[in-house]
Amino acid sequence: MSGHDHDHHHDHDHSELSETQLRVRALESVLTEKGYVDPAALDLLIETYEKKVGPRNGARVVAKAWADPAYRARLFKDATPAIAELGYAGRQGEHIVALENTAKLHNMVVCTLCSCYPWPVLGLPPVWYKSAPYRSRAVTDPRGVLADFGVTLPKGIEIRVWDSTAEIRYLVVPMRPAGTEGWSEDKLAELVTRDSMIGTGLPKSPQDISK
């Protein structure tokens, strides 16, 4: 892309965003003046999902499932209370199901109708998860979608796509990478990526984090 094109594109985005920005600011002023919202509560909501709730939560769940067979059994039997043991629960994660990846089965999660996503364990969804390309193709061509992420699975492996059409939220538990025997949960958690818990990626390998 030439410098000119880049600048043009940038300016275009900027003016569009400004219009929306002004409208949001106006709306917040009206709602605050009317006493319907407390701006301090808004700040706290933003801080919660920017700083506290994110995929590190899910990584801790997966690492524990890898390291602790009893926890793993509880997680696959009834994920919501098992995840609540670690303190993660609530909005957009009221009913969670954990999905087990195996050598024969790869799970992938989508919400074709909107953006349903397990907030307490993964935080807010990335833009691509909410985008038309992902929502349209995940159910027809999951291997093609995986290729967009640079992931190729063995040919014979079954791909199971879970369309989150109700209030059940799905968390993929990827396979534990080889060469991690005896690792602590904290160290294992470093291998667990957000995308590996959606099913559009795989966990890191021990080599990836030793670089």
Binding site: S29, E33, A40, L113
Partner: protein, 219 residues
Amino acid sequence: MNGGQDLGGAHGHGPVRPEPNEPVFHADWEKRAFALTLAMGMPGGWNIDMSRFARENRPPGEYLSMSYYQIWLAGLITLLEQRELVTEREIDAGHALAPPKPVKRILSPGDVAEVLYRGGPTERQTNTSAAFKVGAKVRAKNINPISHTRLPRYVRGHIGTIERVIGCHVFPDSNSTGAGENPQWLYTVRFDGRELWGADGDATVKVSVDAWEPYLEPA
């Protein structure tokens, strides 16, 4: 509704473009639009199904050309205007032009953590028993309501297998219109890729949706 939101199986949207090291929000206004949407649920008195319908109920071209938080913002404004909590003139002015309507309760900073932790569970007690058992063959009904539904077009008319009986859950098709929660049995229904997409479909792919009993018939 058969709107722009019902995207499963649509063509022409191009490749998925992951963004490395993506921030949680891409602009300050996204943060405020997100927080306003969450905070207004309590005084606004609407439910999640009404919110979803307010977002999706617009011309498909408009839906597809808006960013996700632009859709949220538009949905929020629709809900506010429907209940006369805010007018378009007030948003244009950036100030309240009429006194507030009484609301039950607003979200205070002290409530935030508890409200988020509690969430909004949708499972309900029932005296009825589930009509379908695990392993049963079912057909997703060919329904085309103009109101909110959570049965995507791409499974309608197709035969799948009950994989899991989830429980009895609030029924969005009723809840979104204000007709009440009308809880119904909810199932995970699994479809073969080729049942959905024909002979050219990937035989190694299976797709499931979570479907309420009124969406299903024995096959």
